[in-house]
């Protein structure tokens, strides 16, 4: 059984890891940069449902299963989602980048935007810096000032924002642009018990993906660089996918992302021209950040419960779709990006 995974974002990598852990022969075709590499590298599972904040993703996903039947979580079912997160944690642990957190409860992390967002799993250092831990303590935000990061800005913004978000104010938030050497090191000398943690940063997804990919290679996954742009489908089955080279396999996983990753171009799926879900005439609302999200966010590939897509009304049975290319959900407003990517990839990669 030979599996070809197209896409090296978080979904493609997790699919490859899963298949490799089941002893499959896996080829991963990467086109280089993915949307994952620009992300914060935290595992958002479900932060908001119908605009309301979700305290427990577990409960949220169960509610969602009853109300939104085309949502990927509804297709996968809660059990698989929970299983997939445990699988991800074990893989991350093995890759030397342990993640903490659980599907029962969301945490809040501070961002370089000076905002707070809910997420579920995060790198240990990030998880330990969760806002929940700030209560009644003194918090210092330190780091080298960069173009898009200013510790003073984060500290000052959060001092204003936390009470408005209903989050308890820490005893004191201070900031320093002098970074680790000037703030954290002396602090550790004075108070050896204090710990230095990390804020999630745009681009952290890049090294996380890299480490997981290296781990996949250790597990036997072969990686090639190519840009897949067409495929040969016969009798409802994919025979091969082509870029500069052609790749044959028994099964295929398409994890090429949405417009950001390059899986979609305009209103077309690039490799196969697969059927889309939820294409509406009006793609976006008038403002960039509407609470209900934009109609185009739900545009994506239509799949059945086994994540197989359709081409001109017919199911392609040996092809599965994973990650942001899926339709029927909105990772930006739900805060469900990596959660859907990991769970759909886990199921797709486990197709046996």
């Amino acid at each position: 059984m030979k599996l070809v995974v197209i896409g090296s974002g978080i979904a493609g990598i997790v699919a490859a890891l899963r298949a490799a852990s089941l002893k499959g022969e896996v080829l991963l075709v990467s086109q280089g940069k993915s949307a994952t590499s620009r992300s914060l590298g935290v595992v958002d599972v479900l932060g908001y449902l119908n605009g309301e904040e979700v305290k427990s993703p577990e409960e949220g996903i169960k509610t969602l299963a009853e109300t939104k039947e085309e949502h990927p979580y509804s297709l996968l079912g809660f059990k698989k989602v929970a299983e997939s997160l445990n699988f991800f944690k074990s893989m991350a642990e093995e890759a030397g980048i342990p993640f903490k957190g659980g599907i029962e409860e969301n945490i809040h992390v501070a961002t370089q935007f000076g905002t707070v967002k809910p997420t579920c799993l995060a790198l240990e250092e990030v998880y330990n810096a969760r806002v929940e831990e700030w209560h009644s303590r003194a918090v210092a935000i330190a780091g080298k000032e960069e173009r898009n990061f200013n510790p003073g800005f984060v500290a000052a913004s959060l001092a204003e924002l936390l009470p408005k978000l209903g989050i308890a104010q820490p005893a004191r938030i201070s900031a320093s642009a002098d970074g680790y050497d000037l703030v954290i090191k002396p602090l550790k000398q004075i108070a050896p018990g204090e710990k230095a943690y990390a804020l999630p940063m745009l681009g952290d997804g890049s090294f996380i993906a890299q480490r997981l990919l290296e781990h996949a290679v250790k597990l036997g996954v072969k990686v090639v660089e190519d840009r897949i742009d067409r495929a040969r489908v016969e009798g409802g089955e994919v025979k091969e996918v082509m870029g500069r080279e052609s790749y044959k396999g028994d099964a295929f996983i398409l994890a090429t992302g949405d417009w950001v990753g390059g899986g979609l171009s305009g209103l077309k799926e690039k490799v196969f021209g697969l059927e889309l879900l939820r294409v509406e005439e009006k793609l976006v609302r008038k403002t960039p950040f509407p609470e209900k999200g934009h109609p185009y966010s739900r545009v994506g590939i239509k799949v059945d419960e086994s994540l197989s897509p359709f081409y001109r009304g017919e199911k392609i049975s040996n092809l599965k779709v994973a990650g942001a290319l899926l339709g029927g959900y909105d990772y930006c407003t739900e805060k469900s990006g990596w959660g859907v990517a990991i769970s759909s990839a886990y199921v797709a990669g486990g197709m046996g």
Binding site: E145, R147, N148, A156, G266, L267, F289, Y296, T333
Partner: protein
């Protein structure tokens, strides 16, 4: 700040700023009130084409004459703000070939310099021009940055003592009294003469003074493509129609414009059909643009006075209330001169107009700046800020790049914030081109806010508000071209909503207009 002035100018477009400078140079005590930022009405939504006059030689000879002479004058007084690209009028296969003769004849009688060249020569000048070109005429078109030219006029006026107030919306006019709202506060000033230079909004402003003025609004939509497809202005050689013009503007190519009567002066969305029309008309002249990245679309309202499609201006005097409207970007100086003449007559001021001779900003070589930044960087700054680059020296140390697409440094952000009448990131964008490139502000909006915060110019809360407002404005320009821009839109959303949680925190931030 006194509350008595000789003249109060309402409107901070190119005309209002031009009047402020004209009167200030004559020693008149003026205040300019603009409801938004400078050049945010029609001026900033034009293509910045300094017409040779050719476009009007057949339909409106008087406008053509004015364009021809003002074009010459502006090159002299504002050379550093003008890119002397030159222009071509081209006809394509299927166009009415009798128009060429009428055009050349019109050019002769209007004094528009025109030189007929062969299609081969035209293709040599503009290799991306369609090979179906049948006739070509070379003219003296040029391109100016409408934002900077307005700022330069305001800057010069300010240097001469004029007060420039932005985000100052006039709400009441009674005789000599003018009341305006600024930062949620009401101010009242007195002015002997009031000049209504509010362009397409002249009727609304006149109504505040109890006067009746009729101005018609015609929407003009423009597409912005990434990269330069042409090196000079390309006009369609035919009776003025829609989608006639392509021009190079900084790092982009503009394709315009439509001409559609518009009843609503505040909201005038761009229809997809307009985008398609402009894409079609643009590609007919330059087929390459089909392959170029369409990055946004914007629209402005032309003020049209009188009947028909004449593009002349109107000067209306009524007691101490002068209205100047209509006209074109190219003829702003002339309009300012006439309005200022009228105001001076009313005031009994005998000083003559100096704007046809005096450079807007005195040009000089800045050797110190060149030594600091290198000739190339200074050259690049000149292309954007013209002679105002000379004022940049104190900010030259901040070399970090804030906007990668358009190569805007942190120094430029702070420079425009402090020196060029900016009150927020959107205003800074109009001066620096921050966020005007490929990514439409995704990478640089947070960066710009952080730069302003670090400089102590805004609070964190104002920074958040400005980030949201700035991206909101960018989004508006993406909507008409969304089919081509889904990736950029999604990236903005993924960065600021998914990672930054802006879709959820915005209700926690109060909606203040922030002032630097």
């Amino acid at each position: 700040m006194g509350s008595r002035y000789e003249v109060c100018i309402i409107g901070g477009g190119i005309t209002g700023a031009g009047i402020a400078r004209d009167l200030a140079l004559r020693g008149v005590d003026v205040i300019l009130l603009e409801r938004g930022d400078l050049s945010t009405g029609t001026t900033g939504r034009s293509h910045g084409l300094l017409h040779s006059g050719g476009r009007y030689v057949v339909t409106d000879i008087e406008s053509a004459r004015q364009c021809a002479s003002e074009n010459e004058i502006l090159r002299k007084i504002a050379g550093s703000f003008i890119h002397a690209t030159g222009g071509l009028f081209v006809s394509l296969k299927g166009d009415d070939d009798s128009y060429l003769e009428r055009f050349l004849q019109g050019c002769r009688s209007a004094g528009v310099k025109a030189r007929k060249i062969s299609p081969e020569e035209a293709l040599k000048l503009e290799p991306n021009l369609s090979s179906s070109v049948e006739a070509a005429v070379e003219v003296n078109d040029a391109v100016a940055d409408p934002f900077m030219l307005t700022v330069a006029n305001a800057y010069a006026a300010h240097e001469e003592g004029a007060e420039i107030e932005t985000y100052a919306r006039v709400v009441e006019i009674a005789g000599e009294k003018v009341s305006y709202l600024q930062n949620h506060r009401r101010h009242t000033i007195k002015a002997e003469v009031i000049i209504n230079a509010s362009g397409v909004w002249a009727g609304e402003v006149a109504k505040l003074a109890g006067k009746n003025i009729e101005v018609k609004a015609y929407k003009g939509t423009i597409l912005v493509y990434q990269g330069r497809a042409v090196q000079r202005v390309l006009n369609h050689l035919r009776l003025p129609s829609q989608g006639d013009i392509l021009l190079p503007h900084q790092s982009t190519t503009l394709v315009g414009t439509t001409f559609i009567p518009e009843a609503k002066l505040e909201k005038f969305p761009i229809a997809r059909e307009e985008v398609e029309l402009l894409k079609r008309e643009g590609a007919a002249k330059v087929p390459l643009i089909r392959k170029m990245k369409l990055i946004r679309a914007y629209a402005g309202l032309r003020p049209i006075v009188g009947e028909g499609k004449e593009r002349g201006y109107a000067l209306i005097e009524d007691g101490n209330f002068i209205t100047i409207t209509g006209g074109k970007f190219t003829t702003f100086r002339l309009m300012a001169e006439r309005a200022s003449d009228a105001a001076c007559r009313m005031l009994g001021v005998r000083a003559r107009c100096l704007t046809a001779k005096e450079p807007i900003i005195e040009e000089g070589e800045d050797e110190k700046l060149k030594a600091k930044l290198g000739e190339r960087t200074v050259g690049r700054l000149y292309k954007k800020y013209g002679a105002l680059t000379q004022k940049f020296a104190p900010y030259a140390g901040k070399k970090e790049v804030t906007c990668l697409c358009e190569g805007v440094s942190e120094g430029e952000v702070i420079f425009s914030a402090k020196e060029l009448f900016c009150k927020n990131i959107r205003d800074i964008r109009r001066r620096t081109r921050l966020g005007m490139g490929f990514c439409q502000g995704r990478r640089c909006t947070l960066e710009a806010a952080l730069a302003l915060f670090s400089e102590g110019l805004i609070s964190p809360e104002e920074a958040q508000m400005q980030i949201i407002n700035s991206l909101r404005e960018r989004w508006k320009g993406l909507i008409p071209v969304m089919e081509e821009s889904l990736k950029e839109a999604k990236l903005i959303e993924a960065t600021y909503a998914c990672a930054g949680n802006y879709d959820k925190i915005k209700k926690h931030i109060s909606g203040l207009v922030s002032f630097l």
